[in-house]
Symmetry: C2
C-alpha cells in the first residue's frame, strides 16, 4: 500500500519534538493538538502541520469569575424526598449535593424562584406555607402528615463539571476549581468576546480554535461524597438562570415553573416524552447559544483561523442536528468515537466543512501502562467504527492524550500507522460517493432529526442495562447498507410520512420518548402509519413499540405488528398462536447458494465473475413463505439473543408469523398488513447475528426480499459496501480472526478469504 | 389408628351396590352422590347414607326452554377489531364466535342496545352511522379510514357452557344441547320454582339437593372452531339481559352502556380495577341472585331437605364472601379442591352449616386408565390441601365421577382409606379450635373480602405464566400459621386499617386490581398506610406493588418498600445501592440451634422436653442485623426462585437491606420505615423454600422476629400446627419422602423423623 499523508490529527506535548516528527511521518499526520494537561511549544507549532488549540469559553478564567460570582451558571435541583410525619417538616435541601460544586442562590428571591412540591398530591405548596433558613440551607413547611415533599431550588454552579471530574479523579489537590460563568449575563458575555479577541492575538500560530466547547455543560451533578449523582449528556440543566427565565417569559408570554425543568426529579431526561414547555425552553436556549457562538466564531474567522467545536462537555444548546446549528458558521466538529453510532453522530453533522473523529484508546495511563497491550482495544474500536465510516466517513481522524505514553508501545504505533493508511485509502475511495443503500429506514421517536444518532444514550454511549438492547439496533444500522433517517411524531403530524421511506422503526421501552408514549393515542399518528403500511410500508418495532395502554391495546399498532403485550387484562382470552415458523426468511443466517459453481476469487484483482443469474430470483418469495421454507430447508439459522427482551408478548392473530417463541412468549414475529408488513423484536443488542437479523427484517418488512442479495455477504461477520458511482466495492472482515465469505452483487457470487480486520477492495467496472 | 366413620361423600352409580357398600365401609363414607353421567338407583338410595342429588336450575329443561327462547340467557360480546381502509367498513360481528353457543339478539332493538366503538378514538359511533344486516350478521358503518372498530352486540346463549364443554370433549354427538334460561324473566322464574317443587316430590329419598349451581354460569365463550375463546371463572358476562339493564337503570338512575360490560374486550376481568359502574352492576346482580336462590332454598327446606351449593358453574352472583350470601340460607357449599388456596376458599365460606371439599383426582378415564397409577396424584393433592385443612378444615371431603373406575385400582382404594381416616382424625382433633397464628396478615387489593382466597385466578386455579408467582404466595399462606384476611382500598378509605393487622400485603402486576393501579394516587390510601407502617406496621410487596407512575415514582410506596422500578426516566440518576446482605434474617433457611443438646423424641409419645430457653431470645435482633449475621454465619440460606420476577428494580436509599441482587436488579429487599418495615419480593411461586422466605419476611416486617420460633420447624419441608385451646400440635411431613426436622415451641427444640406424608401429633399438656 502506497504511503499516504493527511487527515490525521496528533496530540503532542512540550519537549517531544523529534518523536512527534517521527510519528507525524509514520501516521501521515497533518495537524497537531494540545490536550488536557499538555501544551504545544513553539518548536512543535513550527512544524508543517495545522495547529489546534483547545479553547474554553466559560471556564478557566477564575480571576474574572471570582469578581462576578453572581454570573455563575445556575441549575434547578430537587432535594431528596422527605415524608412529613407531623404537620411540620424540615427539609435540608442541600443534603446529598456537593457543596464544592453548587451553592444555593440566595440572591434571587427563593419565594419567587423556588418551589416546594407535595409529591403525594402532585401540587405545589404555597410560598407562604414554608420558611427558609439560609444559614442551615433548610426549609420548614406546614405539611400534611405522610405526604412526601421536595424542594426545587436554584443553585449557582461554582465548579466546572469536567474540570471537577478530572480534578477529583486525578487527585489534583490544591489546583484551583474552575468556575463556570454564564455568557448570558452582561459582564460574562462581554468578557467572553474580549478574551477571545486578545487570545487570538496572543496565539498567532494557532490555525484551529478547538472550542471545548461553548457555554453550557451537559448536566453533571455530584453528591456529597464527590461521586457522580446525576449525568445527562443531553441535559439543559445548567443553561438556566433567572435572567434566562425572565427573558423566556417575555418572549413566550408565559413563565416556566421550576417543575418544568425539575420534572419530578427526571430533569427532562431524553427518555421523557418532552413537554411543550420543555421544547419551547430548548428552542429558546438553542437560539441564544447559536447567536452567541456565532459571535465568537465570527471573531475566529476575522482573525483568519478556523473554528472547530468539540462535541461534548459544554455543547448544550448547539444541537448539531437542530434548526439553528448552521448559523454558528463552524468550520468543523470533532467528537469522540466509541463505535459506529458515535462515528455517524459526528460524520453526519451538517453545515460544517469537515468532521473529525477522536479515536480510542485515549493516550492516558488507564490503557497505556506497562504490561498492558493497547493494540487489541485499538483494533476493536477501529473495526467497529470502520463499518460506519464505510457508510459516511468522518473527514479526519485523530487521537488525544500524551503522545509520549503511546510512543512507548511500538506495536501500537505500528498498528495506528496501518489504521491511518487504511483510513486515507477508504476516504479517498469513497468520499463524496454515495454508498449503495438497499433501503431507506426512518427511526420514529419524540426527538426526530434533532437527536439524530443520539437515541437511548444517557451518559455518552455508556452501556446501560435498560438501553443496550436498543443501542444495539442503532449500532447495527450505523454500518448497514441502508439509508438511515430520523423522524418525529410532530414531523408526521405536520408533513406526513416521507414518500421515500421503506421501513419505519419504533423502538424503546413503554412511555419513553423513544417509543413515544401518549403520542400513540393521537389518531393522526396511528392512522397515518396504518395507511402507509397498508399501502406497502414496513413497520419494525423493538421492545415496547407504540406502547400506551388504552382502548383495549397496549401496543397501539398491535394490528400492524401482529403482537401485543399481556398486561394481565386479557388472560381470560385464549391465546391460540404459539407455533414458531422454523426457517423463516428473517431468521436465515445466510442465503448463500450451493457453492459448487462459485469460484474463489480472492484477491480482488481477479475480477472474473461467475454467472449465476438466478441467485436473487430465488429470494423473491414473500408471497409464499412455505415455498421459501422448502427451498432453504436445513440452512443455518440465526441463534437468537434479544438482550433484555420484553416479557409477555403474544401473537394477536393467525396471520402473525412467529419467528421465535419461548418461555410462553413471542420474541420475534412478522405480520402482513395490507400490502405492508409489521415486524417485531423483543430486543436487538449488537452482534453480527443481530445485524443480520435486522437486515433480513428490514428487507422483509419492505417486501423487498428479492433485493437482499444485492451486495450481500454470506458470512455475517463480514460486510460488503458498494459505491455505484465509482464501481468500487469493499469486503470487510469485521473480526480479529480469519474469515471466509461469499459475496453476491445481486447477480453472482464470489468467494473471499480475509485476514483479521482486512478490507478487500474490488470493482464492478472493466476499466 | 382406630377405624372411624363419617364426613366422607362417595360417588356411586347404578348397578354397583355391593362394591359401594364395601368402599363405604372402608372409607367410612356417610353420604352418596350422583355425578355427571351417573345415577343412583333405589338400592343405593336405601343404604345408610345421606343421598345427594345434583340439581340444575337453569338448564336441562329443553322442552320449557324451547318454548321460551326469548328468555334464554344473554351476553354482550365484542366483535373482532376491524380496521377501516376506506370510509365504509363491514363488520361480520359473529366471526370467531360459535353459532351453536350464541345467536345475535335481534328481538331487542340493536340501535338501542348495541354499540359500535371506534377503538382508535375511544368514542362510540352514533347509531345513525351504521346499518345492520340481520341475514348476514353484519354491520356496515361510515368509518374514518384506518381507525379500528368493534361492535358490542347482545346475544342469546343457546347452549349451557358446562354441558357444551362436556358434550364437545366427550363427543356426545346427537345428545340435545341444554339451553340456559334466565330466571329473571317471568316464565323462567316461575318455572324454576314450580319444577323444584315437583322435583322434591318426585325425589323423596334425596336428602341433600346439590345445586349445580343456581342461575348464571361464569363466562365461558367458545370460538367458531368450538374451542375455548374466553373464560373467566368470576365473570358476570352471562348475567345480562335487556330486562336486567332496564331494572338497573330504574334502580340506579343511570343506564349502563354496553361498554360498561364489554370493557374494551376485557369484560371486567378480575384483573381490572373495577369501575364504579361495574361494582354497581355486580351488587345489583348479587341481590337478585340471592333473592331468587333463597326462594329455591326455602322450598328445599320446606320439603325437609338440605340445600348444598356447588362452588362453580352457575355460581355467578352468589359471591360466597359477599354481603348478601348469608341470606340465601344454604346448608352447605361443596367445591373442588386443587390445593391449599381452593381448600381455604371453600372452608372459610361463612353462613353455612358445613363445607365439603371434592378432592382430586376425579374418577374419570383421564386418570383412571390401565397403566396409570392414580396414587401419586392423590398423595400430592392431599398433602397440599392438608396443610390448609390444618388451618381451617372443610367439614367433609368427597370424590366425584365413576366409582366403578376407581374400584379397579386397589392401591388407590387403600390410599384413600388412609386419607379418610386421617381427615377424620385431623377434623376431630382441631375442629372448632383456633390454630396458633403468630401474625395477622391482610391482603390488600381492589376486591378485598368479596374475593377472599380468589385473587390471581383466571379459570379455576389453572397455572398461568402471569399468575403463578403471585398464586404461590397465596398457596404458601393457605397453610401457614398466620391469620389471613382480605382488605380493599375502599375498606381503608371507609374504616381505616384494622388495628390488629401485623403485615399488609400488596402483590400483583402493575395497574391490575391486585396491585391496585390508580388507587395508589389517592393520598387517603398512601398516607393511611405510611402512617400505619411508620407506627410499626409491616408492608410486604410482591411483583409491582403500589405501582402507578406519577409524581416521580412508579411504586407509590417506594419510600416504604425501599425499592422502585426503573422505567427509563431515572437512568441519569446514579444507583449506588447494589450490595447484597449475605445471611439476612429473611433468607435463613432455618434458625435451628446447635443440635448437641436436642433429643430425638419421635415418636411423639415421648414428651420429655429439653430446656433451651435461649432459643427464641437469640432471634431478637432486628435492631442490629449485624449481630444477627455474626451469630448465624454459615447457616444454610434459601436458594431463591422469584418465578416470573420483575425487571429493573433498584434500591432507593442506603437503608434498603438488599437480600437478593442479580443481573443488575434487586429481587428481594427490606427497608425500615419509622417503627415499621417494608419488604419486597419480585415474585413468590409456591415452594417450601418460598413459604419459608415469606414466613421469615412476615415476621421481619412485623418486627416480631423474636416470636418466629414459637411453633417452628427447622426443615421447611415440614410444618407444625399448634392448637393452644387443646394443647395439641401436629408435625407434618409435606413431602412424599422421609424427612427429619427439629421443632421449636418457642422455648425448646425437639427432633422428629417423619415417614412420607406423615403427621405426628403431640401435646403440650401433661394430662
Amino acid at each position: 500500500m502506497a504511503k499516504t499523508k493527511g487527515r490525521v490529527t496528533l496530540p503532542s506535548e512540550t519537549g517531544f519534538l523529534e518523536e512527534t516528527k517521527e510519528i507525524m511521518e509514520r501516521w501521515g499526520a497533518d495537524a497537531l493538538r494540545d490536550s488536557d494537561g499538555t501544551k504545544l511549544d513553539d518548536d512543535l507549532k513550527a512544524l508543517d502541520a495545522k495547529i489546534y488549540m483547545t479553547y474554553f469559553v466559560a471556564r478557566g478564567h477564575n480571576e474574572f469569575a471570582r469578581a462576578h460570582m453572581e454570573e455563575c451558571q445556575q441549575l434547578y435541583l430537587m432535594s431528596q424526598r422527605h415524608t412529613a410525619v407531623e404537620e411540620k417538616l424540615l427539609i435540608s435541601f442541600m443534603d446529598g449535593y456537593f457543596q464544592e460544586q453548587v451553592i444555593p442562590d440566595y440572591i434571587h428571591d427563593p419565594k419567587k424562584w423556588w418551589e416546594v412540591i407535595d409529591r403525594t398530591s402532585g401540587e405545589a405548596v404555597p410560598a407562604d406555607a414554608w420558611e427558609l433558613d439560609q444559614e442551615q440551607h433548610r426549609i420548614t413547611l406546614y405539611a400534611v402528615p405522610f405526604h412526601e415533599y421536595t424542594v426545587s431550588f436554584l443553585v449557582y454552579a461554582i465548579w466546572d463539571p469536567t474540570q471537577m471530574y478530572n480534578h477529583i479523579t486525578n487527585d489534583w489537590g490544591e489546583r484551583p476549581h474552575e468556575i463556570p460563568f454564564d455568557v448570558r449575563q452582561s459582564s460574562s458575555g462581554a468578557f467572553a468576546k474580549e478574551y477571545l479577541i486578545q487570545w487570538l492575538k496572543d496565539n498567532p500560530s494557532t490555525d484551529v480554535v478547538r472550542f471545548t466547547t461553548f457555554f453550557y455543560h451537559f448536566t453533571l451533578v455530584f453528591n456529597d461524597l464527590a461521586k457522580e449523582k446525576f449525568v445527562d449528556w443531553f441535559g439543559y440543566g445548567a443553561t438556566v438562570s433567572v435572567q434566562a427565565l425572565e427573558e423566556f417569559e417575555q418572549e413566550y408570554g408565559y413563565a416556566l415553573r421550576p417543575e418544568d425543568l425539575v420534572d419530578n426529579g427526571y430533569y427532562n431526561s431524553p427518555f421523557r416524552v418532552p413537554s411543550k414547555h420543555y421544547l419551547d425552553y430548548m428552542d429558546f436556549i438553542q437560539r441564544f447559544v447559536v447567536r452567541k457562538a456565532k459571535e465568537l466564531v465570527d471573531l475566529v474567522h476575522a482573525a483568519g483561523r478556523e473554528a472547530m467545536m468539540f462535541l461534548g462537555d459544554n455543547w448544550i444548546g448547539t444541537e448539531p442536528y437542530g434548526k439553528y446549528f448552521g448559523e454558528i458558521g463552524l468550520d468543523a466538529v470533532v467528537g469522540s468515537v466509541g463505535g459506529g453510532v458515535s462515528l455517524r453522530l459526528i460524520s453526519e453533522i451538517p453545515h460544517v466543512k469537515y468532521t473529525e473523529g477522536r479515536f480510542l484508546p485515549y493516550f492516558f495511563p488507564d490503557t497505556f501502562y506497562e504490561g498492558n497491550d493497547p493494540v487489541p482495544e485499538a483494533m476493536r474500536d477501529w473495526i467497529r467504527a470502520r463499518r460506519a465510516i464505510m457508510r459516511k466517513p468522518v473527514d479526519r481522524i485523530g487521537y488525544g492524550g500524551y503522545l509520549s505514553l503511546a510512543y512507548k508501545f511500538p506495536a501500537f504505533v505500528d498498528y495506528i500507522e496501518k489504521v491511518t493508511d487504511e483510513f486515507r485509502l477508504i476516504y479517498d475511495s469513497i468520499k463524496g460517493v454515495s454508498p449503495y443503500c438497499g433501503l431507506k429506514v426512518a427511526i420514529l421517536n419524540s426527538w426526530g432529526t434533532l437527536r439524530s444518532w443520539q437515541p437511548y444514550m444517557v451518559a455518552h454511549e455508556l452501556r446501560y442495562k435498560q438501553c443496550y438492547s436498543y443501542m444495539g439496533m442503532m449500532e447495527s444500522l450505523s454500518g448497514m447498507a441502508v439509508d438511515v433517517s430520523f423522524l418525529s411524531f410532530a414531523d408526521i403530524r405536520e408533513n406526513g410520512i416521507p414518500a421515500d421511506i421503506d421501513v419505519m422503526i419504533n423502538a424503546g421501552d413503554a412511555m419513553t420518548a423513544f417509543s413515544g408514549g401518549e403520542e400513540w393515542l393521537d389518531p393522526a399518528i396511528t392512522t397515518a402509519i396504518r395507511r402507509w403500511v397498508w399501502n406497502g410500508g414496513g413497520f419494525l418495532g423493538v421492545g415496547e413499540p407504540t406502547a400506551c395502554h388504552a382502548n383495549g391495546r397496549f401496543f397501539q399498532l398491535a394490528d400492524v405488528l401482529g403482537v401485543d403485550k399481556e398486561l394481565g387484562f386479557t388472560l381470560s382470552t385464549d391465546k391460540y398462536f404459539t407455533q414458531e415458523q422454523s426457517g423463516h426468511f428473517i431468521r436465515m443466517q445466510s442465503f448463500k447458494e450451493d457453492q459448487s459453481n462459485i469460484e474463489n476469487s480472492s484477491p480482488a484483482e481477479d475480477r472474473s465473475i461467475i454467472e449465476n443469474p438466478s441467485a436473487a430470483e430465488n429470494l423473491k418469495f414473500t408471497e409464499n413463505q412455505n415455498d421459501f421454507l422448502a427451498q432453504h430447508d436445513g440452512k443455518p439459522q440465526i441463534t437468537f439473543d434479544f438482550g433484555e427482551g420484553v416479557k409477555n408478548i403474544y401473537a394477536i392473530d393467525e396471520k402473525t408469523e412467529i419467528i421465535e417463541y419461548s418461555d410462553g412468549e413471542v420474541h420475534a414475529a412478522a405480520h402482513p398488513y395490507g400490502k405492508g408488513y409489521g415486524v417485531y423484536f423483543a430486543g436487538l443488542p449488537y452482534s453480527f447475528a443481530n445485524t443480520r437479523l435486522l437486515m433480513n427484517a428490514l428487507y422483509y418488512a419492505a417486501h423487498r426480499t428479492g433485493d437482499i442479495l444485492t451486495w450481500y455477504s454470506s458470512n455475517p461477520a463480514c460486510e460488503v459496501h458498494a459505491y455505484p458511482g465509482t464501481g468500487k466495492f469493499a469486503v470487510l472482515n469485521n473480526t480479529l480472526e480469519l474469515q471466509k465469505t461469499t459475496v453476491c452483487d445481486g447477480r453472482q457470487w464470489k468467494k473471499y478469504d480475509l485476514q483479521p480486520g482486512e478490507i478487500i477492495w474490488g470493482t464492478t467496472r472493466e476499466d
